[in-house]
């Protein structure tokens, strides 16, 4: 349970930003501890998790970009996802225009119930975000986080920075706007490679997607599988 006095670890590679987040957590009645690397940078999420455990924190506020200044060799999204699997509630902080939403964050979005735009950070949002995550960890899934098996129409693949990404229309969510996600989310290599190597589009797949969410950046994808091509015979009749 998140409440007054809950110990919360603040993870950010910029000390000033960490101070801001810690100050806001304090305002929210939490007891923040800013995490600093003891030996160079954190190379794996588990090292950071171990250090957080020493602070006896039961929740975490974590920035997404941790490697720009050499704080860690992984992203905040990857770490928050690891915390989720350890059943530790966390809020991931990101910046408004960040392209990370579609790539490095989307990759772990299934395990990130609370993503907060850093410029909107305030005590209520911190508490709300941690409670949302805590609630999901205890089995209460909000309607906008519940996933459904749905058709995903892939419109093409391309490269964004160093990540191979796909653009897709999910009709059950929004039939007009394409959503971008990293190809890595498709576990089946055969499907992935087939997408990388083709010239004709679209390709239809099935996946579990939280189509009840409002904003495209909240979408997560899992369990991709091939979908049969639609029957077009009626066109001939």
């Amino acid at each position: 349970m998140i409440g007054v006095g809950t110990r919360v670890a603040v993870v950010d590679d910029v000390p000033d930003y960490a101070e801001t987040a810690a100050g806001i957590a304090e305002e929210a009645g939490l007891t923040p501890t800013i995490i600093e690397p003891t030996h160079g940078s954190f190379s794996v999420p588990n090292d950071l998790l171990e250090q957080i455990r020493t602070t006896r924190s039961s929740a975490v506020i974590c920035d997404h970009r941790l490697s720009d200044r050499g704080f860690a060799s992984f992203t905040g999204a990857e770490f928050v996802s690891a915390l989720y699997q350890e059943r530790i509630p966390a809020v991931l902080l990101s910046t408004f225009s960040s392209i990370d939403d579609d790539t490095s964050i989307r990759l772990h979005r299934v395990h990130i119930p609370s993503l907060v735009d850093r410029s909107f950070l305030d005590p209520e949002i911190v508490i709300g975000g941690l409670e949302r995550c805590d609630s999901e960890l205890s089995g209460i899934i909000a309607p906008d986080r519940k996933s459904w098996r749905t058709l995903v129409r892939i419109e093409g693949v391309s490269q964004e920075s160093s990540t191979a990404v796909a653009d897709a229309i999910i009709h059950t969510w929004n039939p007009v706007s394409a959503v971008r996600f990293p190809l890595e989310l498709i576990e089946d290599r055969a499907i992935r490679e087939n997408l990388c190597d083709r010239d004709t589009w679209p390709v239809r797949l099935f996946a579990r997607v939280n189509v009840g969410c409002h904003n495209g950046s909240e979408l997560y994808f899992q369990d991709f599988e091939s979908a049969p091509e639609p029957c077009m015979d009626y066109l001939a009749s």
Binding site: Y17, T95, S98, E155, S158, A178
Partner: protein
């Protein structure tokens, strides 16, 4: 003192057998590998009744067979290979080093198994071992079940036969096809120095065999051959279709030492285009079908293929993902076939217990890195070749132009004197018009290049400023909350005004910082079906802080129907943002200033087109610029680039539409009309 030993529950047979080797094909291949280790030349796999439960598999080889001690101390011992993995067999093979777990998995595919073997060293003698797995279910530990080794005489040649009866599951058609492919690829169909040919007696085998053995290697566009020597040093060559060396690696191309066993990587890459197959015996369709079966880079360890490298869906060198970056010059698993061969005398590569590839230790990583580096090296060479080709093409076109000019002058000289003067004059005029056009294009290009550099710099700075800007917003609000708590009722009178001003500035900074990054998002450049209204609305919202700052009231008047076009978000943004900034700049130089500044962005449907109009109540288009307003570099703003409207016009043309300007429009100021082809209801 009493002594005891580890004993194994019969459950362990299930753990090590069925749970490690899950498929029929995988189990059978493990037994075929045993035949290879026994120096067999042929190995036949026969399936009968396997489409239903209770079927039968018979694997027969003409190898060296096993003596009673081989059976007792080797074949029946799990977890250890009796053969020395470092020493060569009679046929110069290095044993594949099976530890017996795959064999156990295969034998347990059925309820009963029978081993019949005739050792080469005991002519006329045959041993057989029947195994009934039901015997193990009634007892606690494995050792309680005795297996009898029967000895008899036989006139048959040496070799081994394994019969697995009453199969516990059906073999699907897919499994049989996989098995056929696996057997064909097992002993390296690219070459066959070891002379080992496994065969499956099933109709699927013949079809796939024909396909696999088709071997279209001669139709490849180029072949990469890379070597990793015993000292961990790599080198590579690329051959063209005629077998001539195109490129050889130089010192420093592979600047690292690889900590893995010696290896050879060969890759045949195909250009599956109609043009490259003209005049050849093979068709693209045939090569595609063949690559469908054998494509990908396979890994051969000690003469036998190791799964799953090169299997469908196992692109262990990441070729397909790399290809996304440069489809023209990078091969994929569907356009190439290759093999990495490793003898590995020192056993540096360790197979996983469940036989699904190697443990990713340093040696394996080194082999993979070597192969990936070889592909990267080849890609660099191909890039350099393409650059060189482009340079040559430019030179050639310059030469051609010069030659055409000379020919033209000679032709004029041949004309009669009266016509000569007229043609000369016309030629001069033509040349002058072309020169003007060239200069214009050059200016345009130069301005685009400048804007590209500005764009790059803006993107870098925007990235840098984004963090502090967003933190500033959050911090200012935190200070405000704390001040309100500390000052209580005095806050409003002592700090509220100043704090609101700081908050507004902080918000402004944050928005301006994020604006260029938003415009630069790559996804916006993707061509797709767009709702024009939506993109315009988002663009206007993006520019809201800029418009508010400039005291401009902006409104959108959209058609109620959904105006869809095919294009990119970036294209519509380019049109709207340039027209908006154009209006704002016009307001700033307007004298006298209007009482209020207004911009209206409107969409209407016009037959098959969408008409976007951007109107303002500014000073309108200066008459002296009316004809040249779309030209690059023409501007009434001394700080402007003069590119904004050129970009608008070019973008509209790219989208299949056109742009028009009205000097003094409906609101009194400039009015720009962009007409774009609309997608029909069913497009």
């Amino acid at each position: 003192m009493t002594s005891a030993t580890f004993r194994f529950s019969t459950d362990i047979l299930q753990r090590l057998g069925e749970e490690l080797i899950t498929g029929l094909d995988q189990g059978i291949v493990e037994l075929v590998k045993n035949s290879y280790d026994a120096d067999a030349l042929t190995c036949t796999v026969e399936l009968s009744g396997t489409e239903d439960l209770g079927g039968r598999v018979v694997i027969t080889d003409d190898g060296d067979g096993m003596s009673a001690s081989d059976i007792r101390d080797g074949w029946l011992v799990l977890g250890r290979s009796r053969k020395d993995p470092g020493s060569l067999t009679r046929r110069n093979r290095l044993p594949a080093g099976s530890k017996g777990l795959g064999r156990l998995g295969a034998l347990r595919l059925g309820e009963r198994a029978l081993l019949v073997t005739r050792p080469i060293d005991e002519p006329g003698i045959e041993y057989s071992v029947p195994i009934n797995w039901a015997d193990f279910s009634g007892t606690d530990v494995v050792d309680n079940v005795a297996l009898d080794i029967h000895r008899s005489t036989s006139d048959s040649k040496p070799g081994t036969q394994i019969v697995i009866e009453r199969l516990r599951s059906r073999a699907t058609a897919g499994e049989v096809r996989r098995l056929a492919r696996e057997l064909l690829l097992l002993s390296d169909p690219f070459r066959d120095p070891e002379g080992f040919t496994p065969e499956l007696i099933a109709s699927e085998f013949k079809d796939i065999e024909q396909l696999v053995r088709s071997a279209y290697f001669d139709d490849c566009e180029f072949r990469l051959v890379a070597q990793l020597n015993d000292n961990g040093r790599a080198s590579a060559k690329v051959y063209d279709r005629s077998g001539t060396v195109k490129w050889s690696s130089r010192r420093g191309d592979f600047d690292r030492r690889y900590s893995g066993p010696a290896a050879t990587f060969e890759l045949w890459a195909f250009l599956l285009q109609r043009k490259s197959f003209e005049g050849r015996a093979a068709t693209i369709a045939e090569v595609r079908r063949w690559l469908d079966q054998v494509g990908g880079v396979h890994l051969y360890h000690r003469g036998l293929r190791v799964r799953p490298y090169g299997d469908d869906g196992h692109d262990w060198l990441g070729m397909n993902l790399s290809r996304v970056r440069d489809p023209e010059l990078r091969p994929s698993t569907n356009t190439s076939v290759g093999r990495v061969t490793v003898r590995d005398e020192r056993e540096l590569l360790l197979q996983k217990t469940d036989r699904t590839g190697f443990i990713e230790n340093q040696a394996f990583r080194a082999i993979r890195k070597f192969a990936i580096d070889a592909l990267e090296w080849m890609h660099k060479e191909r890039l350099a070749e393409r650059r060189e080709r482009e340079t040559q093409r430019k030179r050639a076109s310059r030469r051609e132009a010069a030659a055409a000019d000379t020919n033209f002058r000679r032709a004029i000289e041949k004309l009669d004197p009266s016509a000569r003067a007229t043609v000369r004059q016309a030629a001069l005029e033509l040349e002058s018009a072309r020169a003007t056009e060239r200069d214009q294009l050059r200016d345009e290009l130069s301005l685009y290049q400048t804007l590209a550099s500005v764009g790059t710099a803006v993107s870098v700075f925007a990235h840098e400023i984004e963090g502090p800007a967003t933190d500033l917003t959050a911090s200012v609000r935190a200070v405000e909350r704390r001040a309100q708590n500390a000052l209580k009722h005095d806050y409003e009178s002592r700090l509220a005004r100043q704090m609101n001003a700081v908050k507004r500035s902080a918000t402004q900074v944050a928005r301006f910082a994020t604006l260029p990054l938003n415009l630069l998002r790559r996804s916006k450049r993707r061509r797709t079906i767009l709702n024009v209204n939506q993109v315009i609305e988002e663009t206007v919202t993006l520019f809201e802080p800029y418009l508010v700052d400039a005291q401009v009231a902006t409104s959108c008047e959209f058609t109620l129907e959904m105006p869809q076009i095919r294009g990119s978000v970036a294209a519509i943004e380019a049109i709207i943002s340039n027209l908006i900034t154009n209006s704002v700049k016009a307001f700033k130089r307007q004298l006298p200033q209007p009482s209020s500044r207004r911009i209206v962005v409107r969409t209407i449907l016009l037959n098959d087109n969408v008409l976007i109009s951007v109107l303002d109540n500014g000073p309108g288009i200066p008459p002296q610029l009316a004809d040249s307003i779309w030209l690059p570099g023409v501007t009434s703003d001394e700080n402007g680039t003069g590119m904004g409207l050129t970009i608008v016009r070019d973008t509209a043309t790219d989208l299949g539409g056109r742009a028009k300007a009205i000097q003094s429009g409906e609101l009194g100021g400039a009015e720009f009309l962009i007409e774009l082809p609309r997608l029909g209801e069913r497009s």
